[in-house]
């Protein structure tokens, strides 16, 4: 069973084969949980969303037509469930976020020009730096974070990310770029402030 292709797995799920559910969970459970955790910043909420995602997916599998991959479809359900949970907690946050970025196309101008590339490797890979990296990405606006997580952490292509988030490929590119610039700025501020000279 574990060697089934995704197409065969979907076919078994659509045929009501319960053992196929376990295969699907073993194949994509960690990825679904990881995305939910990074969106929600809370392990209990992430596990709830993982459960909801698979329950929703198995109930709706009859309508899955294979226009996107099974993995992309599961990411879409995960993202929507996580967003719903965030919206319940903070409606104002997401009502702003949904229209982000603004349509004026303004270029983000980098402010922090400290060159931290040549810092010692131990500083770039320290536990404190890792914590900073993780915090910075969880603090991104959700619209940027969804794109960044799927592209950089989950390895989806631009088209797969667009399919998962139901947005255009151009918007994926714009949001990814803005996320990267924002994280660069954040990290540059962090490394600059950590220098003895207070750059």
């Amino acid at each position: 069973m574990a060697e089934l292709s995704d197409e065969e797995l979907v076919s078994r799920l659509q045929g009501g084969d319960k053992s196929a559910c376990t295969v699907c969970i073993d194949r994509y459970g960690t990825a679904v949980y990881r995305l939910a955790l990074r969106l929600l910043k809370n392990e209990a909420d992430a596990e709830d969303v993982m459960q909801e995602t698979f329950l929703n997916a198995f109930k709706a599998i009859g309508s899955f037509e294979g226009r996107s991959s099974l993995k992309t479809w599961l990411y879409r359900i995960t993202y929507n469930n996580a967003m719903m949970r965030l919206r319940q907690k903070d409606p104002a946050l997401l009502s702003i976020d949904e229209s982000w970025p603004p349509e004026d196309g303004a270029v983000i101008v980098p402010q922090q020009l400290f060159d931290w590339c040549c810092l010692p490797e131990r500083e770039l890979t320290s536990e404190e730096t890792r914590q900073k990296l993780a915090t910075a990405v969880t603090d991104l606006p959700p619209a940027l974070k969804g794109v960044f997580l799927l592209r950089e952490f989950e390895g989806l292509s631009t088209q797969e990310t667009a399919d998962a988030l139901e947005i255009s490929t151009d918007l994926v590119k714009t949001r990814l770029y803005r996320a990267r610039l924002q994280l660069r700025e954040n990290l540059a501020d962090y490394f600059a402030s950590a220098q003895p000279s207070g750059v």
Binding site: R34, L37, C117, L124, T125, Y177
Partner: protein
């Protein structure tokens, strides 16, 4: 950004998304690289942007918590799907 190269710096920022994604045309890549050779500030931005992406790709991936898989499978047993 340097005052005398502001226009070119702005153009670089406009093209940087495609450049970092490896999707820029040869001509755009050449223009960016020529600008980077002369503009220290833009070189820092591009280098630290690449390094930021690299550091994120090196981060360890979180695992499922112990028991999460089994709790989900147990829930599937009691909820009709």
């Amino acid at each position: 950004m340097n005052h005398d190269t502001r226009q070119t710096c702005q153009q670089l920022l406009g093209d940087l998304s495609a450049y970092v994604a490896g999707e820029a045309t040869t001509a755009v890549c050449a223009a960016i690289e020529q600008h980077l050779a002369d503009c220290e500030n833009c070189r820092v931005v591009v280098d630290t942007l690449h390094k930021t992406i690299f550091l994120y790709q090196q981060l360890p991936q979180p695992d499922l918590p112990a028991g999460a898989r089994d709790r989900l499978i147990a829930r599937l047993e009691i909820e009709p799907i």
